[in-house]
Point group: C2
Chain length 190, copies 2
DNA sequence: TGACGTTTTTAACATATGTAAAAGGAAATC
DNA sequence: GATTTCCTTTTACATATGTTAAAAACGTCA
């Protein structure tokens, strides 16, 4: 039994170690190098991933960065998993990383055959909703300079890990604007 | 038995009429007048609503409009229901409306005691994720003029139902900018 | 019809932000 | 040590968008 699975799958007050151990043949570990792609545009990626270590990000074909996910978080290509469409983004490692994955089919098998896993999945989806809502509201009510402040407050080390051009892209502004924000000559919204 | 419940609660390929009928004592119908509040800032609204008829919208204390929901859709105060926080928005009727509601507690009771309802809730949450992702991606990749075009394409009658000032607020732009978009003298992003 | 209030558009101006290009700085390579 | 390359900041300029105010359009009601 691979203990690594026990720690990265959130129990959410529902599962116990042996529930995960019992299902461990449905989970797979992958070791990934920096810049390696986990998901490519035009494919359909029916997997949910749990990030054991490293840093992954999503970006469009035009190199616009959509999100970053840090160690301990889960991620997936939403359009594939929840819309069953071909995805239109890359999911890529910003650093050497390791992930545990489970296919949507296998997860739904657990959900449909096991009440515990059904409750777990519902609570897991609630967490996804929380994260997505947080991102959504960030976009809706905060300007780029607020979002930059909060990013470096939450992940101060990101400056060392990611070039500012990528952070600007993530924030949805030009690198010039980010420089102005960092230099403090930027009018703030609120 | 109130048949109205049977039609507004989505079955999602899991429930049958009698499942909903069996739980119908947990659902409540409300008739609401135009401008009436369903949710107020500073309260905690632990209800999920299904909009039978009418039109509801969310707006902040500063009158910024966050979203509209049309007949047949469900809605809730996300911060209350999924974060258990006090909400910071109004949810208000743009027209005379009627809704069916269920409390989060009662819903979780169904989920925890009935496998069918657990699967149903998971699929329902997947639908919420789809809708939220759609809103999120709209904000992320589309400019106001695109979002305006798609809004009137999807709901052409909205122009008759809602003043343009509210639509501008919903789009996150000034009414002056919306006038410029409508007059066609507006540079588009793509 | 005329007067009034509301909604929408237009005009004038200030400013924030993007683009393009140059300059500065840091790290790696020869 | 010098050169190269990459990353970041700065400058100059063009433009989209907000604010404010005025004008126009529209509906209601006497």
């Amino acid at each position: 039994m691979k203990k690594v699975y026990l720690n990265i799958i959130p129990k959410l007050g529902v599962l116990q170690d042996f529930d995960i151990a019992e299902a461990s043949n449905l989970f797979f570990l992958k070791i990934l190098k920096k810049d390696q792609c986990i998901v490519r545009p035009g494919t359909n990626s029916q997997y949910i991933y749990f990030l054991l270590s490293g840093l992954v990000y999503s970006h469009t074909i035009e190199e616009k960065i959509n999100w970053y996910e840090f160690e301990g978080q889960s991620f997936a290509d939403i359009e594939s998993v929840f819309f069953n469409k071909q995805c239109d983004q890359y999911i890529r490692c910003a650093e050497d990383s390791s992930v545990v994955s489970i296919s949507k089919d296998n997860l739904l098998y657990l959900v449909k055959t096991n009440h515990k896993w059904a409750v777990w999945y519902a609570l897991f989806l609630e967490e996804i909703i929380q994260r997505m809502y947080y991102y959504y509201k960030n976009l809706l009510v905060k300007d780029a300079s607020q979002r930059y402040s909060e990013l470096i407050e939450l992940h101060p080390e990101i400056i060392q890990r990611i070039p500012l051009g990528h952070i600007a892209s993530y924030l949805g502004i030009s690198q010039v604007s980010l420089s102005r924000i960092r230099a403090g000559r930027q009018t703030k919204k609120s």
